[in-house]
């Protein structure tokens, strides 16, 4: 599954130094306008037939990244490249519709992403019509049935007339995925597609997406707060914390040799990755790792945003933002512990052996 051959391909969608700030209205006169620094300096690339997982706890900016890539809203700064060309944010209308034909979003909550007044056929027929894939009602019906079969909603003829309230969460999410496929996209941005679903059907949906990824050669961005399912589904993992990317690389590398203290923390509370299937069936840990939570993004901590929670925080961490350090081929992290240029770093060997141990001990302490 993971070979470097895939990397030699051109990425189909890239994000380069994306930033997003949401201005917040302060009614007080005279106060300076504030904003939520939701995403800071995010760079990623998606390849055909390959999934990249974006992992981080709730509030870390994952949805914001997906929505910028789907062009629900524009980045404050930074570039989005589709097939190597910079996207012009000013061009809307036809250009935007053409972009959306190739990049589709699957929402987190299938209970709110389908319109209660429309049936399955209507939901799937619209992209077919808008993008001109179906010319008449007969073609629509044919293709809708084909799509329903593709997402294993069978017998398709029965589902075609169903309304959302007649479907289970898993079935709704399959409809949402089918709607994304109806546009015949190259990229699917799936925003926590299984987190709202019953644990017993999460694995089915992941397997469905896995199959589609291979059969349709889709480039997947798979957003999750559960690192175990990230490893199960995705070739690459990106870890995000408080709007910043903190670590990235091949899934196996990141899971087996996590470098950033936050990744280590995530893994220390995640169940054994060997037992992913069991976890998927029993329910993943939805709990947020110990030691505080995501800091305020209106006035985020200076320097490394993780420093208030980091067991290894050093003086420099509070002052400077750590740059990206390559720790192994294709595996990088933003942490001063690995930054050779910083004098007062701790020996890296100490971290690798002890960090998980420390984090686990800490976890136990807090549990008491």
């Amino acid at each position: 599954m993971n070979n470097f051959m895939d990397h030699e391909q051109q990425p189909v969608l890239e994000a380069v130094h994306l930033h997003k700030e949401f201005p917040i209205n302060q009614m007080k006169l005279g106060s300076r306008s504030a904003s939520v620094h939701a995403v800071e300096d995010t760079t990623l690339a998606l390849y055909p037939g390959r999934a990249t997982a974006l992992v981080g706890e709730s509030g870390s900016g994952k949805t914001t990244v997906a929505r910028m890539l789907a062009r629900v809203y524009d980045p404050t700064s930074g570039e989005i490249r589709f097939r190597g060309n910079d996207v012009n944010y000013k061009k809307r209308g036809a250009a935007l519709r053409d972009y959306r034909r190739h990049i589709q979003l699957v929402f987190q909550d299938p209970f709110s992403s389908l319109n209660p007044v429309h049936n399955v056929r209507y939901h799937l027929s619209r992209p077919l019509r808008v993008f001109g894939h179906a010319k008449n009602e007969r073609e629509v019906t044919e293709q809708v049935i084909e799509l329903l079969n593709k997402v294993s909603l069978t017998p398709a003829e029965q589902f075609i007339t169903k309304y959302p309230h007649q479907l289970s969460g898993g079935q709704r999410q399959r409809v949402a995925i089918a709607r994304a496929l109806a546009a015949r996209p190259e990229v699917v941005l799936a925003d926590e597609p299984v987190s709202m679903l019953d644990v017993s059907i999460r694995l089915d949906i992941l397997n469905l997406m896995e199959r589609l990824k291979i059969e349709e050669r889709l480039a997947f961005l798979f957003i999750t707060h559960d690192i175990a399912s990230a490893r199960y589904f995705a070739e690459d993992i990106l870890v995000m914390y408080a709007g910043q990317m903190v670590e990235g690389g091949l899934s196996d590398d990141v899971i087996q040799a996590p470098k950033h203290p936050y990744t280590q923390l995530l893994l220390s509370v995640a169940p054994d990755p060997q037992r992913v299937e069991q976890v998927m069936n029993e329910g993943a840990n939805d709990a947020v790792p110990a030691r505080g939570e995501i800091p305020s993004l209106i006035r985020p901590p200076q320097g490394c945003r993780f420093h208030p929670r980091c067991p290894h925080a050093m003086a420099i961490c509070k002052e400077k933002v750590p740059g990206r350090t390559e720790v192994a081929p294709g595996h990088w992290t933003n942490c001063f512990l690995y930054d050779q240029s910083e004098a007062d770093r701790k020996p890296a060997s100490f971290i690798q052996a002890d960090a998980i141990h420390n984090a686990k001990a800490l976890q136990k302490e807090e549990a008491k």
Partner: protein, 316 residues
């Protein structure tokens, strides 16, 4: 979910879809006792407007020799001082009064939907312009303005058409604001955003994704407007701004007033149209309240039994 009109559930390939729809509408119209009451009253007046004239054996404008007679077997509701049959006037008048109120309310609702949904959905410059127009109409005092215009209008254009137009344009702005607010809250709903991100056309999102979900608000707004147009129509005509040679509920009151029916003790002349207007408006108000209750469950006064049952569920 602000859907009162629950999605019609087609039992797989229903051969008689039309019957299902009628059945569903009837079911919806009788969702609670207020709506049932309102519907009954409304239906009564509609039947009266359609079939009443068949029962009247006189033209509403024909004179007879029975001048100013109280109700009798010959004239069920008595006669005017010129000998016109009041029952005939009442049932023929129901036609015009209902029709004027209904058409004005429909026109007004169309304006409300266009202004409210477009400004709420598009925001920005479109919203600024449309909101400005809404606000201008909002601060214009509708009824006095209508009276002023109608009183300057030459006699030959006075009548139902002028009144319909006046009522339409003086009644839409408040509802447009309500619908704009509803649309604003719908705009960022997941299903709207997912329609948008799957490439859907904006007008299609407005009229096919958002509108069906706020249809109960539209319905309630329509009924509220209908109350206003019926009442204001009668008020205009009572003040002599209608076509006084035509018989409607408003002109009946106008003539009763100008012939001093009240002083002469001719209660049968002004009470029937007065009761009709009040009863119809009350019925529509019931309907309006009932729809609001369905659309906004927080307004629902739950029966004690239901509350008790829910408590049990929480404990269990």
């Amino acid at each position: 979910m602000a859907t009162a009109l629950q999605p019609v559930t087609p039992e797989q390939q229903n051969p008689v879809a039309g019957i299902t729809i009628v059945h569903n509408i009837l079911k919806w119209l009788t969702s609670n006792w207020k709506m049932t009451t309102g519907t009954c009253i409304l239906v009564f007046f509609i039947l009266m407007a359609i079939f009443g004239p068949l029962l009247a054996h006189m033209s509403p404008t024909a004179f007879s020799n029975d001048l100013f007679q109280p109700p009798s077997a010959a004239h069920w509701l008595g006669t005017t001082s010129k000998g016109e049959d009041i029952f005939a006037q009442l049932v023929y008048g129901a036609r015009i009064s209902l029709l004027v109120g209904f058409i004005a309310a429909i026109g007004s609702t169309i304006l409300q939907i266009l202004f409210g949904l477009l400004s709420g959905y598009f925001g920005g410059l479109v919203d600024n312009i449309l909101s400005f127009v809404i606000n201008v109409f909002l601060i214009l005092p509708g009824l006095p303005l209508g009276i002023a215009i109608a009183s300057f209008a030459p006699n030959n254009i006075k009548g139902p058409i002028l009144i319909t137009i006046l009522l339409t344009f003086t009644s839409w702005s408040y509802g447009a604001r309500v619908l704009r607010a509803q649309t604003l809250s719908m705009r960022s709903r997941d299903f709207v955003e997912s329609a948008r991100s799957s490439g859907e056309w904006p007008l299609r999102i407005i009229f096919f994704e958002i509108l069906p979900n706020i249809i109960s608000v539209v319905a309630s707004s329509f009924v509220g407007t209908f109350v206003y147009t019926i009442g204001a129509d009668v008020a205009f005509e009572f003040l002599g701004l209608g076509n006084v040679s035509q018989s409607t509920w408003g002109t009946m009151l106008f003539w009763a007033q100008s012939q001093q029916a009240m002083l002469a003790g001719g209660w049968w002349w002004f009470i029937p149209p007065g009761v009709c207007v009040s009863l119809l408006c009350a019925g529509l108000a019931f309907l309006n309240n009932g729809i609001d209750e369905v659309a906004n469950p927080r307004l629902r006064v739950e029966s004690k039994r239901k509350l008790a049952r829910r408590k049990k569920e929480v404990v269990a």
